[in-house]
Amino acid sequence: MLAEQLLVNAAVLGAVLTLFALGLSLTWGALDVLNLAHGAIFVASAWVATRLANSVEVPFVALLVAGMAAGALLAVVAELIAFRPIRRLISNKRQAELSMVAATVGFGFVIDNLVGRATSHQVFSFPIGAFEFRQYDLGVFKAFNIEIIIFATAIIGALLLNYWIMRTRQGMAIRAIAFSPRIAPLLGVKVDNMAALTMAVSGALAGLSGSLMVVWTSGMDISTGHSLLLRAFAIVVLGGVGSVKGCVLAAFLLAAVETGIVAAGYGSMRDAAAFSLIILVLLFRPQGLFGTGRAMRA
């Protein structure tokens, strides 16, 4: 019974990590920006959703949409005030990338501070009743509705994202920009617009995973974002930057490893899993499981 339950746990954890890490992988792969504010955006979006829930009574789906909208908005703000000016002003690619990462750290810090202030650094959560928990007995194991929702959302989200990147014109444009931001404009592609769109999607993913997680854990605070960001970083490195397939696999792999470590009684070492993973991958296969250098792929 316990073993099956652990499987459910790992699946749900993997799903949350998947949604979150996909957003990080998207912007890193498409725009060469390692968005270290992703965790802060995750927390801030979840907070917006809880604020809405505490003010008016709306269906749960509306709360998720609000979280996604908040995430998308914050990400686009980052693009407009930080990345776009840097891209314009700094012609040296390496320098521009470093400056943008630094900008994301600053942006994340500001968001964290604002949310921290608004919440007095306390836990924030949905009000009781915003979501009705129900448990389903699926024979082999039991699962809560929220767990099923999270798992389904992650799988569907990954599939949709993959379709968007690989099959639509916008996806082709994004892959083209990922390969060469210089050439895409020569074909009439509006790089600025595509960059903003990419950031918006990434932010929406952060907001979606945040809103779902705050239900699942009955509350979070700004430190949740930091912990997730580290693991997302490990996942993207392991899966290969820009690879949707790699990201999903790596997320569930990390979730399985962490669950196993805790189940075996070494709970105090669970962070070591993420750290060790990063180091091992960088030593032996720096491009990750499915990465082959810069570009977006399935």
């Binding site: 921290g116 805790v262 709970g267 962070d271």
Partner: protein, 388 residues
């Protein structure tokens, strides 16, 4: 008529002279520094401590016990970082500040204590539960009794309720909390005839507890103890209840925000604590009421700890000033040692000091239970012992 005119002139002259004298109405300031974790890992607690200090200073200044003096606190943010705390402490050493209040985070306090000791600045740590703090030297006091001095009360309660099997979850990398779970709990469990059936540890930044919860509940305990950070409690409490556990929950600290977040799931949870709004000691009641009037709402233990630290400082300063001495570091330290012999009455009730170092606070403590977010006292500690 001549007499009246003379009296008027005399009156006017003496008034003029009195008004002219500088010491007649000037207020002297006593400068102290408060090192508070306003940002960083324990910002939530730090903010409350800062507010408690502020209320304590206002209370002491308004009481008139310090004569012409008033306390002025320079509040500095340690950012929950030892290096920052140490740097700030060095600055205090070369300033005109005569005392340090705080820090609250153990690692920061341990960085500040040697500097305070070396430079002769009396230090009144708040919370900072780590072992070895006050042992740094005679300038280092701690106004919050360490967790282990009153948390044993919980296990007395469990035994009284006829419970037997205890499952424990605790943080693996905060020494004071880890010590509770790893070193003291087994002692208390044995002393009260209980049985430890599960033990789960995790680092402080853990956000996912599904596996931990599954294992705790699977051990079929009568009571589950959660020695975790307040921010981790919502996930743990709601998860444990969702997993079907209906037994007794206990912890070492919980906030109104968490209780509100978990709702019914948190009903019945107990914890041993030094301060609670449910305490009925006269000095506690006074504090709780005054806090409500001044700031609205109910104070937390952090507000209470911050407040008590200033009361202690105020009592020592009162002694110095009443004795006609100048409020400086040496005189303050001597007065603190005197006050520590009898203790003070503050938010946490009667606060005395340990019999070894005479610098580490002790209270009787209470066991409170929460129902609907409201605490009530179920058990009181024994004021005649140092460890419950």
């Amino acid at each position: 008529m001549k007499t009246t005119r003379r009296m008027l002139v005399a009156g006017a002259a003496s008034t003029a002279i009195l008004l002219g004298m500088p010491w007649a109405h000037a207020q002297e300031t006593i400068n102290i520094t408060a090192l508070v974790e306003q940002t960083g890992a324990i910002a939530a607690a730090g903010q409350d401590i800062g507010r408690g200090i502020e209320m304590g200073i206002d209370t002491v200044n308004a009481s008139g016990r310090l004569g012409n003096y008033k306390i002025v606190a320079d509040v500095k943010d340690t950012a929950s970082t030892p290096a920052t705390g140490a740097a700030l402490a060095s600055q205090v050493a070369s300033s005109d500040s005569i005392a340090i209040l705080g820090p609250a985070l153990s690692s920061v306090a341990m960085a500040v204590a040697p500097i305070a000791q070396r430079s002769g600045v009396p230090m009144i740590a708040i919370q900072a539960n780590t072992a070895g703090l006050v042992e740094t030297g005679d300038h280092v006091y701690r106004l919050t009794p360490p967790f282990y001095t009153f948390n044993g009360l919980t296990y007395k309660y469990l035994a009284q309720q006829g419970l037997k099997k205890v499952a424990l979850s605790y943080i693996s990398n905060i020494p004071s909390v880890t010590g509770l779970g790893r070193d003291f709990a087994p002692k208390w469990i044995e002393a009260n005839g209980l049985e430890l059936v599960a033990e789960e540890t995790m680092p402080v930044n853990t956000t996912d507890f599904s596996t931990t919860i599954a294992k705790l509940v699977a051990s079929n305990p009568d009571a589950i103890g959660l020695y975790n950070l307040d921010t981790q409690l919502p996930a743990l409490i709601s998860g444990i209840r969702r997993a079907g556990f209906t037994g007794q929950l206990f912890c070492y600290a919980i906030s109104p925000a968490t209780l509100s977040a978990v709702g019914d799931a948190g009903d019945g949870i107990v914890l041993s604590i030094d301060y609670s709004p449910a305490l009925d000691d006269p000095s506690s009641v006074e504090f709780t009421k005054a806090f409500g009037e001044k700031y609205g709402g109910t104070p937390t233990i952090y507000h209470a700890n911050g407040y008590d630290s200033v009361l202690f400082l105020g009592a020592a300063l009162e002694k110095v000033i009443a004795g006609g001495a100048k409020p400086d570091r040496e005189n303050l330290l001597a007065a603190m040692a005197e006050v520590a012999q009898t203790g003070i009455d503050g938010a946490s009730g009667h606060l005395r000091f340990d019999s070894q170092t005479h610098r580490d606070a002790r209270v009787a403590g209470v066991l409170v239970q929460y129902k609907g977010g409201v605490p009530s006292v179920l058990l009181k500690g024994d004021p005649n012992v140092e460890e419950q």
